[in-house]
Amino acid sequence: MSAPVERTPLGHRDPIVVGDEARLAEHAPAGLLILRCEPEAAAEPFRLATGVDLPRAVGTTGIGDDLEALWLGPDEWVLITAAEPTRLRERLRAGLAEQHYQLVDVSDAYAGIEIGGRHARNLLAKLVTIDLHPRAFAAGTAVATMLAKSSIWLWLTAEDPVFRLFVRRSHADHVWCLLSDAGREWGLPPAIPIGRVPLQVP
């Protein structure tokens, strides 16, 4: 039997770099977990289990050694880890055992895209309606919002700027192509979505 082969959501897309103008690359973290819980009760056990303060307001994040927590809603977070998530999951299960919570592994359900370069904000502004100005969206900010017709989580990890964008896997190629198209004026190439196959009726 052929050995299992893993595919990342955008494995078919090569990174694009146009000097320091704009760049686009897949950035697939090893683990993504959705955490649902009541923060009043669960924040402290969460901190004990992970060393991270659960962020409590829109836009905020909690950063630890091997874990980043983005606020998605008043009782929902995505936990991002560069390591394989099994151990984190076990730690959280143990720590939250007394809580009413939900922990769902969505490592395979989302694609990660990194958008950098000095035009990154202008590029995203063609597709995202929220205010991305440094005054409104400083480094460390993360929100759940829309990119064109796709739901995304958008996180500015560095003021360079470097954005990390998470989108459901099935939308990833479409979003990649939208981003590449939005960067045309800075030299990014046009891209054809893989979903652009002819539809045929008998």
């Binding site: 998605l72 809603g73 309606t129 759940a144 919002t145």
Partner: protein, 94 residues
């Protein structure tokens, strides 16, 4: 294109929201005890207000939370937003 302020996420464009119709209509506790007419009132009948209207919205493109808003249907001004379970705020408009 009125802007909606999600009580959890702040102001966002309307494309991030879905409308859920009139607010403050509770599902009856004991549907089986209602007459056809009473049940139909709950399922089908909604007011069609000109002026301040309490309606439900879901921030479907963001935090996925439902909340209520008071909107003046004549001007599309959103006068207040409030969370599920909170009382309808007072306004000086009809």
């Amino acid at each position: 294109m009125f802007r909606i302020t999600c009580p959890y996420c702040g102001p966002r464009e309307p494309t991030e929201f879905t409308n859920g119709g009139e607010a403050h209509i509770s599902r009856p506790q004991h549907p089986e005890q209602l007459s056809d007419a009473e049940w139909a009132e709950f399922v089908f009948m909604r007011s069609n207000t000109k002026g301040v209207f309490a309606e439900r919205w879901c921030h479907s493109g963001g935090c996925r939370k439902w909340f209520n808003a008071l909107r003046d249907t004549a001007t599309d001004e959103i006068l207040a937003v409030y969370r599920v379970g909170e009382d309808r705020p007072w306004t000086d408009r009809a």
